[in-house]
Subunit: 210 residues, 2 copies
Amino acid sequence: MDVEAEQSERTEAWSGITPDAARRLVIAAVEAFAERGYHATTTRDIAGRAGMSPAALYIHYKTKEELLYQISVVGHRLSLGLLQDAANGDGGPADRLAAAVRSFVRWHAEHHTTGRVVQYELGALGPEHYTEVVELRRESEAAVRSVIHDGVRAGEFDVPDVSGTTVALLSLCIDVARWFNPGGRRTPDGIGALYADLALRMVGYAPRQR
Amino acid sequence: MDVEAEQSERTEAWSGITPDAARRLVIAAVEAFAERGYHATTTRDIAGRAGMSPAALYIHYKTKEELLYQISVVGHRLSLGLLQDAANGDGGPADRLAAAVRSFVRWHAEHHTTGRVVQYELGALGPEHYTEVVELRRESEAAVRSVIHDGVRAGEFDVPDVSGTTVALLSLCIDVARWFNPGGRRTPDGIGALYADLALRMVGYAPRQR
């Protein structure tokens, strides 16, 4: 993905955040947290990146933690929405699992900077915000687990440990945010297609059906 | 794993680092980097955690980056050694792949704090140190890829994209360091067994052979 495309992906994820100044602060915070880590970043750094004064930042976010929380909640809600749309979509369990993996992987490749911040700085959220985000993560697990259950019930999947396989599948997709390189030879779509096939193998979807 | 067991795992990984003061500094640095991130940690913080003066730290490590490099190289060499031992061990490709995944996963669960620091702070290494660590990562990939190739050549594995499947397998194992919780219900051995089975599925090792 080129820089311009990446920029547009990044902005698109935050299009729901208004007003414009709050959105600019979120984008600046993601970049600063990704570069230096949450604890090494000050609200002054973030305001400076967004071309604003610390006082202007304070109008929108009272603390640095509020910014991290906003990034984390928006990121988790968007990726959860993609998973749920695919998991509750048309088709049999194999089609729905493949679609869920494809879109979850694509999200983590395209939003790899946000993905890293959200995953690595989870421990920096305040207790209430942490609890809220953990709940969104549970819903993501539930969405994947229910498709796997459907496949097992339909006799199409063979999964001895549904909960462990669910954790592994989500982990595989999330970790794309760590290693994805927009300048590398693998595209978000290419990784999505590969991982959808690997997911069907992991749930024992018989090769003759593939 | 209880706290005592975790402490012993942690110390064991660094047993090759001498003298004792240098080892204590590495252990203190891993904890500090994991808690606050590399950029928010000072050499003064690290010396304080190790019960030493900044001047005493300076005898062993001239910079904070040297400490990160030591952690990263030792961590990568240990986990590479485990992979290579398993990949070059006895048995057919399926046995060797399963053994490699089991020990790589166990390492990342037991040394999850080190694993997080090593993976998340890769970008903070200086250019030469970064190049050296990337070379160790290439060797880890090569070890896994060669077992998969053996399985494909022997007609036991069915892998359309060997290089992509290698990346996915390593990613799955490495990400255990992110989500593993020593107080949770899954043990390093349990995750190792589950993931060895998932790995064989990912390479299309036919179920009747499992």
